[in-house]
């Protein structure tokens, strides 16, 4: 995997042409090539890279002249707060909408919600982001369209969540990013509610004379939360990837914007470090979710054994 990425990234172009003014004197260009280690053969560069990668050094960014991993980690808090806010918005609106759509599944309200969730699936998120900017920033002028706004540092980490200006800036990108997970949570909750309302324990609860509200919120909700929470874990990895798009649309200075900028500037070490980091993150998230799922839901283990 690392070899594929490395050789591939090597093949996309010569960063010298982007980084150095072609009018610079020849010896300056030679010196830069040598300092960046670009004059050595490819396999030597790879083994050098591999040796350092295992020790945790993924090379210096050509553009920032700082360790690539450090450049990425500096941007990580911005991405994290964006994805967390999006996740909160998605679950706070998605769960109730899913419950409504599942409980009144024959009523028009359910159809409206389901149509909305289908739109959340199929519309490209960059397009929705543009529309949000046109409507709320340009036409109505309520919210700023780009940047992170004022930040405050807690424990050395900058965050926009604690200032009013920062909150105004995070709202549009977070809503944009939340639409896809929201659509998924709505569908999942609705399917869960519909399935569980047919089950025996709901009939017993009804026979016991419990109110509909109590049945729905205490009994059904508890049972459908297992798959919903698991999927939320998977979604978290997914929207870190989706954040690439949202961050580019809203010029949010996170990891996703960084990787797009790095691809344009051919900043190889940052690209390689980002890809390795994201792939690693995904493998960890998937593993954790798989394990959690089999712990939370015994039926998964059963079906594996009978197969």
């Amino acid at each position: 995997m690392s070899l594929v990425v490395f050789v591939g990234v090597y093949a996309i172009g010569n960063p010298i042409t982007v980084l150095i003014d072609p009018r610079a004197p020849q010896e300056a260009i030679q010196r830069a090539i040598h300092d960046l280690g670009l004059d050595r053969p490819l396999y030597e560069q790879y083994f050098f890279f591999l040796k350092n990668a295992l020790a945790g050094h993924l090379g210096n960014s050509f553009v920032f002249n700082e360790p690539a991993l450090w450049v990425i980690m500096q941007r990580f808090p911005a991405t994290l707060e964006l994805t967390l806010t999006a996740m909160v918005i998605a679950s706070v609106t998605g769960l109730p909408l899913g419950l409504i759509a599942g409980y009144w599944s024959d009523k028009p309200v359910s159809r409206v919600i389901m149509t909305g969730s289908i739109l959340g699936f199929i519309l490209p998120s960059f397009w929705v982001g543009l529309m949000l900017i046109i409507v709320f920033s340009i036409e109505l002028g309520y919210l700023p369209a780009t940047g992170r706004g004022a930040t405050v540092a807690i424990f050395g980490v900058e965050t926009s969540l604690l200032t009013l200006d920062g909150l105004r800036h995070i709202l549009l990108p977070a809503i944009n990013l939340s639409l896809f997970p929201m659509a998924l949570i709505i569908r999942l909750t609705r399917a869960g509610v519909r399935e569980h309302l047919q089950l025996d324990y709901v009939k017993y609860a009804r026979a016991k004379g419990l109110t509909n509200r109590r049945i729905l919120f205490t009994h059904v909700l508890k049972n459908i939360m297992i798959p919903v929470i698991t999927v939320m874990g998977l979604l978290f990895g997914l929207i870190i990837a989706f954040a690439v798009v949202t961050e580019s649309v809203f010029a949010w200075p996170g990891m996703g914007k960084l990787i797009i900028d790095s691809i344009t500037l051919l900043d190889r070490p940052v690209i390689v470090a980002y890809l390795l980091l994201t792939v690693g993150l995904f493998i960890v998230i998937n593993l954790v979710v798989d394990i959690l799922y089999s712990i939370l839901d015994p039926r998964v283990r059963l079906s594996e054994e009978t197969r």
Partner: protein
Amino acid sequence: MNEIVDGGRRAGAPAADRDTPFRRFVADFTASRIAVAALVTFVTIILVALLGPLFTLQNPYDLAQLNLWDSGLPPGATGTDGQVYLLGTDDQGRDMVSAVVYGLRISLGVAISSGVIAVIIGTTAGIVAGYFGGRVDTLIMRVVDMQLAFPAVLVALILLAVLGRGVDKIIFALITVQWAYYARTVRSSAVVERRKDYIAAARCLSLGAGRVIFHHLLPNCIAPLIVLATIEVASAVALEATLSFLGVGLPVTEPSLGLLISNGYQYMLSGRYWLSFYPGVALLITIVSINLVGDQLRDVLNPRLQE
């Protein structure tokens, strides 16, 4: 037994029968007015894309045909030669109607050509996995699972970061992202179908594996494949637009809808909203109409809903 005979006949589609499967299919499909409207829209879009050069004002990428005097005109303005620019012009005097039509050609061309190749690869892999089972199945499906663990945007982004921009590269990336969905879908129906009697009968005739797979098994696995292929074309259009918007997709010389939106984005804050907005609307109509057609196909072709 009846069901099997019926299933076999449906696949063979006898022309003499008055109530042919095709007629039944048409009747079912036209039952929904929205789906018919969506189909008409989609066919119109395809026709516009195919016949576009015949009726557009200009070839928007032939610089000799552009008129710089007409640059930056709003929608509906009249140019110096008396022609009407229905959707306005960009800063080089490019008619946006022509730009959208040409963009549509490229977007759909990329999506459909990658879709066709992905269907061929995915179907072959899926049906081979489903028919043979055992180790072949495990091997193919592990690759599929591994790939589906990562979101499509991320996989495509990694590939394009490595390969660079270009039509061939984005088609390759779209194929890589999509084939796994086809493989999984075809495999799941192949696993069910191969246990049925007609496959056993075909085997008893000592037909070759290739013939059993492609002449007997495949026709009976095709319904979910058609539905998936329709919807995947829409998501390929969306994904390509997203990647081009991010600046990692198509080169500037092949402006798809996504690239048009991206180019217009920088003028949006200065009030020339039409440069991004109308390509966006074209993208939206394309994606939504394809999805509506796909949805109706799913309802019509799903044997469980037919009874």
